[in-house]
Symmetry: C2
Subunit: 216 residues, 2 copies
């Protein structure tokens, strides 16, 4: 029932399913991310991911030790995207730490809104300890570093309070992260009657937070 031709170096035609898949690892992560966002992490099944990619239900086990390991892969992608956004924000407003922080916060929130389930996976205690997944650890640190760079630059320029960098960065992170989580978990729509658009919300909260961080 399959095609007949098999070219020389293009060692697989479109229709034929080669026994060995191109790079299944990446395709699995990619497919899993899509399925994840269609529901939630609880209802993501390894078998559904395999089916979506078009391999047998056991194929993923050649690339991931278990389900959790695949989830860790997804989370790592999420952390890397977060880190990218931080760096983008810095380069978008060079020499303006306040604008950098506002932009970073807004992007953080947009990313959370775009991939809410992934966000919950990253911060939802689904992966027991990040130490078991070194890539997770490093990508997480990478993201937080972007934030610290902004804070340090602001302190150097005298626009941010002097003092413990980690503490200021953590406060900023907490505020934006909390806002994002409250939003994607439906709290803001459901328990707060606050009908502003996202961008305005992000900037309003950021501004209050910034007032606590700015030097005066």
């Amino acid at each position: 029932m399959k095609t007949k031709q098999a070219s020389n170096e293009d060692f697989q035609s479109d229709e034929s399913k080669p026994y060995h898949h191109g790079d299944l690892q990446q395709k699995l992560i990619c497919a899993a991310r899509e399925l994840l966002e269609q529901n939630n992490v609880a209802s993501l099944s390894l078998r559904a991911v395999a089916k979506k990619v078009g391999v047998s239900h056991s194929a993923p086990y050649r690339h991931f030790k278990d389900k959790e390991s695949l989830l860790a892969g997804i989370a790592a992608v999420g952390f890397n995207e977060l880190a990218s956004k931080m760096l983008e924000a810095v380069s978008m407003y060079p020499d303006d730490p306040v604008a950098q922080l506002q932009e970073a916060g807004y992007e953080y929130m947009k990313l959370a809104m775009k991939n809410p389930q992934c966000m919950q996976l990253m911060f939802g205690n689904i992966l027991p300890c990040h130490e078991a997944y070194p890539e997770l650890q490093s990508s997480g640190e990478f993201a937080f570093n972007g934030l610290k760079i902004i804070i340090e630059a602001g302190q150097s320029k005298g626009v941010f309070k002097a003092g413990n960098v980690e503490l200021l960065a953590l406060t900023a992170w907490s505020t934006i992260h909390g806002l994002s989580i409250l939003f994607i978990s439906g709290q803001i729509e459901e328990t707060i009657s606050l009908s502003v658009d996202i961008k305005e919300l992000a900037f309003s909260v950021s501004e209050i937070m910034l007032n606590g961080i700015k030097s005066n």
Copy 2:
């Protein structure tokens, strides 16, 4: 090994297992909360809960439509506890909104640390829409109301900025909630090298946040 007496109206002895359980609904929630904190929400099984309580694997279905419904019950308890802490903080420092907010934040964080998995359940998009669970909705609003009361009191006394109450309350909530989540998800230990004790951390972050909220 147990006591032997069986009084008249105390219509069941210790050893005998009566067909009808005392109040299974509450016992199930209680047992589920314990099991939940021993691992995470993903690995909480309805059958394990039933076994812990000592009933058959199907008994829970007489009290909860499905597993999700039991989870909603647990989450509601969590929201109510949160609301209680808010009110306690208010009554602990009457006429001092700043101290109220600090105390509330600290208690919020302590509660999160004590029941991290429950917290993730409450805010982790495991329950699709809170609208399906009215008690969840109301208990969530109840908790947020406690916060708003503090903010409003502070505004009346002139210690907090005038303006949109919801926005200030949301900012405070976001900050403390974010800090709590970052902490219980292991980010602070793993990606930040910040070795302060919890109380100090909570108060430090709260103080920065308060600087953005206070009138000057």
